[in-house]
Amino acid sequence: MARIGVFVCHCGENIGRTVDCARVAEELGKLPGVAHAVDYKYMCSDPGQALIKQAIAEKGLTGVVVSACSPHMHERTFRRAAGGAGLNPFLCEMANIREHCSWIHEDREAATDKAIDLARVIVEKVKRNVPLETIRIPVEKRALVIGGGIAGIQAALDLADGGAEVVLVEKEPSIGGHMSQLSETFPTLDCSQCILTPRMVEVYQHPRIRLMAYCEVDAVEGYIGNFKVTIRQKARSVDETKCNGCGACQKACVVKNVPSEFDERLGKRTAIYVPFPQAVPNIPVIDREHCAYFKGRARGMKKDACGKCKEACARGAIDFAQEDRFVTEKVGAIVVATGYELYSIGKDQPAAGLKGYGEYGYGTVPDVIDGLQFERLASASGPTAGKLLRPSDGKVPKKIVFLQCVGSRDPAKGIDYCSKVCCMYVAKHTMLYRHKVHDGEATVFYMDVRAAGKGYDEFTRRAVEEDGAVYVRGRVSRVYRDGDVVKVLGFDTLNGTPVEIDADMVVLATAMRPRKGIEKLAQTLSVSYDRHGFINEAHPKLRPVETNTAGVFVAGACQAPRDIPDSVAMASAAAAKVLGLFSNEMLEREPTVARVDAALCAGCFHCERVCPYGAVEHKEVRDRKGNLLKVVADVNPGVCQGCGTCQATCPSKSVELMGFTDEQIYAEVNALAL
């Protein structure tokens, strides 16, 4: 026979004002199986907890119901108290008569009746509770960081400096990400590469970081503390162990006109290349799509079309026969830092919901460029060696028009969010322009200037007050080429007049979008993403770098548009979270996970299909002779998050969520209905 103790809390006036707590205790005391019922002013206080402990000891209670606030608030407190008195903590439950009752009602009589019902329900549940044990799982103290931009670099360095082993995977031939393409950075105008490249080198030389550039994550199995990651090492066609980065192969390469991705197609590169001189690792890659050797092969030529790089390489590092390789790494945590790409301005769009701006002439008018292209034009390492020259004829532009919010905040184009960095980098562009072309005129079309951040507003003011940028509030309707100039037709909404500007160049501040392929990676990792493809954080305020999958963390612009300081802060936060995780020898998990009754399970695997966390595995059931009887579902307690979807789906009722079994739930419903 159950001996349940009920403890009704007044929460000062919070519950006591609306609910007659004494009557609740009195009514509950009359229920069969309730051995003890009291009310008290503050149950969570030390004397309150002592009441519980004392009752457990003196009355030999088999279960405890605390009628008080939300379990989110104090379940842990009371379970610890119950545990302290020798009761299994999972035999203690809370009935929420504050948020669910006293705070939202005024009629004392009715509220008291409701509080009695709420507590009664939980009493019926606790009668059927069974002792549960905390799950303990071992932790692999290595971390995987996906993406080698500034966020990934920062996370990897913080982790490695904190003592953890790190595998850093980057899909491009070099780490550095978008930050390595930038000329100078706001709000301090310090040279981007100057502050970034030392960090890149640090990553390369760190004894605890294994850098895997030109690699991609192919598959992820396992769960928090115990992930098994398959990584594809894309064929560089260059033997990394032999190459010393001398650059002779690039000088010898006959294909010299491949549009450079690093220079945003404003410059050229060879077919065997490193993206930029400071690349880390400084090992070239053969771009097989453009390489004469591989093109000849593809055409079925018997004789090799080219082999200049191989001839030029003194160390014999060129390996045309290299193929993609797969390596497996065991890690305990994963940080996703895949970054962003720019919204595509023209008609061709990567996703169905997106629309472009055909009227802005991007792609057909050469002097209409995007923000990253401007960065390359302004960069000392760029295609013009830092001289600001327009792409069409190489002249110095005397008038540049900047358009903000191209794509961003335009639901008609499929992007309703603010890209956050554009107001700042446009202000920076106008300054860089004026610093390079002293008589240049910069005009900015804006919706409003969003410069929230330390030193940010001062920075945009500087662009206007010291460097003479002209800000026009309004949108541009059309951009087209008219002879030697680029015509910009817009509207000044403050003056209420149409504006027509003959510009030499137009720069479009396009929206930030998550990287192509992010959905596939998110699915591989079982993390959720929003309709734009940005990775969802577990809680927008309180768990900003965790995801809904335990052990997977997020940093930088793959979560939302982020600038460099934000990305770095997030990366450090994620690293701290991972180090916190790694500080334990064993991980403790709540035992409220699903469990399959193998005797009942018919092996339909509905549960496997609905499980958002990939926690359901296949288990073979054999007889004593080892003959296979059937294959049933089995829940990995390390992965299961206890959502209960499998339980609701199972046609044979053979999955139960521990602590929330069907029997318990039905008992609760019955208690209300009877």
């Binding site: 701006y357 009227e359 002439g361 087209y480």
Partner: protein
């Protein structure tokens, strides 16, 4: 295919040639135009400037009639009619209270199942048929496609094409074998209904359109709106300066009709103020057996030739 037909007042008056040419090209394009019985004014210009309820109720009445008469699509060749029908439908879809009021006003149920269609939309849905049956492709003729303001805007109402950079008319013109030229004022306003009230404004706006089309090398302007046609064709004598050549303004349906080998008279081409004879003669002139240029066969993108080549020079 059977389609409800809503000519509107223009097609019975100033835009008779649009009505005639449409009826002429319908059979070869497998279209059966069934005029809605007892149709009334759509309320363009005056109603929506004076009474919101009336501006919705008038088009709703016509849509309800089409529905009763068993149509699921209603072709409104006049851009203003199309815009009113589509706007009314949009307003009712977004406002449940208004939908109820409209049913009260109409005295009949209005489930709004009929989709209004404009001229361009209907022709674009038949591009394959048009290419196949264009016995007299308009090879070598350059046409400036003029959308005006009502055909593609507002975007939430007229969602069939990009409101700022549309391509549908160019696709139809390319299917006739003619070459759509790239020009800039194809979405500008011609002055619309102010033709009488503020002629000066119409002259200024329409002249800019004509000038731009001419400098882009167009042999004619294609329109899909009686109001635009009226301003550009009827007012053209007042628009052109001394020494400037006149530019024929053709309805898209007339161009299609020429390509389909129909007779200029049956298409109403004799009703224009600006002489179309020269254009028609060039259309009729026997052409070398060569196929239309590659650019004309596929949906043309409206980019100036100069810019397209300049784009390649990007460093």
């Amino acid at each position: 295919m059977r389609v409800g037909y809503y000519p509107g007042c223009s097609l019975h008056g100033t835009a008779r040639e649009l009505d005639e040419s449409l009826r002429a090209i319908a059979p070869p394009l497998d279209l059966e135009l069934v005029e809605v019985n007892d149709w009334s004014c759509c309320g363009a210009t005056s109603a929506h400037a004076t009474s919101h309820l009336l501006s919705v109720a008038l088009p709703a009445r016509n849509l309800a009639l089409a529905e009763e008469q068993g149509h699921d699509q209603l072709l409104a060749p006049c851009a203003a009619c199309y815009n009113r029908l589509a706007s009314a439908r949009h307003a009712v879809a977004c406002d449940a209270a208004l939908a109820e009021t409209i049913e009260d006003v109409l005295g009949r149920p209005f489930p709004s199942t009929v989709a209004p269609r404009n001229l361009v939309e209907v022709l674009r849905a038949r591009l394959d048929l048009l290419r196949e049956r264009a016995v007299r492709p308009l090879t070598g003729l350059k046409v400036a496609c003029y959308y005006g303001c009502l055909l593609v805007r507002p975007s939430e109402v007229c969602s069939f094409d990009d409101p700022e950079d549309p391509v549908s008319m160019e696709e139809v013109v390319a299917a006739t074998g003619a070459t759509p030229v790239a020009w800039r004022r194809r979405l500008d306003c011609c002055g619309g209904a102010f033709s009488v009230a503020r002629t000066g404004s119409v002259v200024r706006l329409s002249r800019a359109i004509l000038d731009d089309a001419r400098s882009a090398g167009a042999d004619a302007i294609a329109v899909a709106c009686p109001m635009c046609h009226s301003n550009l064709d009827f007012r053209q004598k007042a628009l052109v300066r001394r020494g400037e050549t006149e530019l024929p303004v053709l309805y898209l349906s007339e161009l299609v009709g020429l390509a389909l080998g129909l007779d200029a008279g049956s298409l109403g081409l004799g009703r224009h103020f600006v002489e179309t004879k020269g254009f028609v003669e060039r259309a009729l002139a026997p052409k070398p057996a060569a196929k239309p240029p590659a650019g004309a066969a596929k949906p043309a993108t409206p980019k100036p030739a100069a810019e397209a080549t300049a784009g390649k020079e990007t460093v």
